[in-house]
Symmetry: C2
């Protein structure tokens, strides 16, 4: 039996192998993804982001338990681009999985971020596609920070939970960072710590100040304590509410369609990389060109345009 | 007099305007950069990176004072992709500049990171080119974290200082994060805090374990206290030593040449974006395509290849 046949029979080892195959972009991964893509429905894709130390892993685990209690299967992708500095960062997948039933029901996968040059968001999306094709009802993507890479990752999620802690700073900062724009549900975790109520009040007035369409989704702000399982039910409810809300008003569809468009553009960009850039090296001697630039006889902008004109189109 | 003429006469307002012009990628910025590029020599470009709260701004300011004392002019670019979460982050440019003589001698510029989709490293490099063309002897690039974007930024620097604090974790983590690979000088700042000596010992044995070429640069580990101005002289010395070392053994040249090659590739990629992707939308109705994918009749990978084949080459 081939790995793909085993995959279709919901063999977990086949799933893990195919994820690695796609993550490492091995020969033929595009064809495979194309195949799997057709099996993907419109299941729930949730993003959870926030600063290091906001207790995201705990929140995610608690949420997974809720989904399991509702009879759903869940796959989690944990991405931590800041991991060297976040003090411990992600627990190992296996450690986290021990808390849960069999991997057919709850599956964890961490993304190796170093070395995934320029394609972390695409790689995360591809892995979500594999998981969805395998049949998981829910894919949870957990990511640290809101840099550009993380925003791209989170952008592919239908419902986004932004997790802050009382220490995260004030509402003005959160607004400046554009957190209001990306979040569908705001969580203040570790809400038993000092400063929590202030932050919640500030966020509330900040949200109130934004002149939002009354028919738009009203972003809830939820004070949770992950380790004490406090208000996790409320968080869970709000996530499902947001999902239902966007599915009813067409926003879910519109967002997915935007994502598909971005995906196509991204695929075209990769093709250009493979077909043009990677072969250019065989056609052109970069040595002389680089020399000219290094010694100020030429500039890279002019050289780039010239090369494109000469080789860019056959 | 045109802005460019004023720029050549070292007018600071003209410098600021041209930086904004380049940062915002206004019409004609490539031609301008091409022009400025030819004026750029092979001055010192230093990168300083580390986690939020490692005291990088203070260290940078102290180093700037050293350069000024040696009669050098210095430009600083501060990039903070994690700023929403870093609790205050960068001081405003003006506040930082107050500590220094006229902007002709010391110039600060923060990079707006949000919205700089996919091009933060390129934008940082472009601004460094403007600063170098203006005539600053030294460009210092200060960045938070070591995600992929930050690595790309730091990659363009000739000498890289990685700043840790005793709280940053252990040497194993630093090694796993690849910090040993990117750093030319390691700094443990706030070295008066507990855990400092342990971390230094660990880093030393970690470095010792790596079987390094005896002729290679030996990464120094320096315990500093930025706010007490402790060991800043030593740090300054080591930076200059590394610079001299790489210029003597050819590594400086080799690295700059690699950078030029990357820059050309990047310019070609941008051209593809402009010329192919941005015009594709006018030639193709994405609606039907997206529909086919959304309802599982097609997959984005096949569609991408088909579009490229049909429109990619004239």
């Amino acid at each position: 039996m081939t790995v793909l046949e085993k995959f279709y029979q919901r063999d977990i080892r086949a799933l893990s192998r195919i994820i690695s195959f796609v993550e490492n972009r091995e020969e033929g991964y595009r064809q495979l993804l194309g195949e799997l893509y057709r099996m993907v429905g419109h299941g729930l894709r949730i993003g959870i982001t926030g600063p290091p130390g906001a207790g995201k892993s705990t929140l995610v685990n608690r949420l997974v338990h809720r989904f399991v209690a509702d009879g759903k299967t869940v796959a989690v992708i944990a991405v931590d681009p800041t991991s060297p500095f976040s003090g411990g960062a992600l627990l190992g997948d296996r450690v986290r999985m021990q808390e849960f039933p069999a991997a057919e029901q709850v599956y964890f996968r961490s993304m190796a971020t170093r070395g995934a040059t320029g394609g972390l968001a695409a790689a995360t999306d591809n892995i979500a596609v594999v998981m969805e094709a395998f049949g998981y009802d829910v894919v949870l993507i957990e990511t640290v920070g809101v840099g550009q890479v993380e925003l791209d990752i989170i952008d592919a999620c239908d419902t986004v939970v932004v997790t802050l802690v009382p220490e995260s700073g004030d509402a003005v900062q959160a607004m400046k960072a554009g957190l209001m724009e990306i979040s569908d549900v705001m969580v203040i975790n570790k809400a038993d710590r000092p400063g929590s109520e202030n932050l919640i009040d500030e966020l509330k007035s900040a949200l109130h100040l934004q002149k939002r369409d009354p028919d738009a989704w009203q972003i809830p702000i939820i004070a949770t304590e992950g380790i004490n399982d406090k208000n996790i039910d409320l968080l869970y409810e709000k996530i499902l509410e947001h999902d239902a809300f966007t599915r009813n008003n067409g926003r879910f569809d519109a967002h997915r369609r935007e994502q598909i468009k971005k995906k196509i553009i991204n695929i075209l960009r990769n093709r250009f990389q493979r077909e043009f850039l990677d072969t250019l090296a065989g056609q052109v001697s970069f040595e002389q060109i680089v020399d000219d630039i290094y010694y100020g006889r030429q500039n890279p902008f002019q050289v780039g345009e010239d090369l494109y004109d000469a080789f860019g189109r056959k």
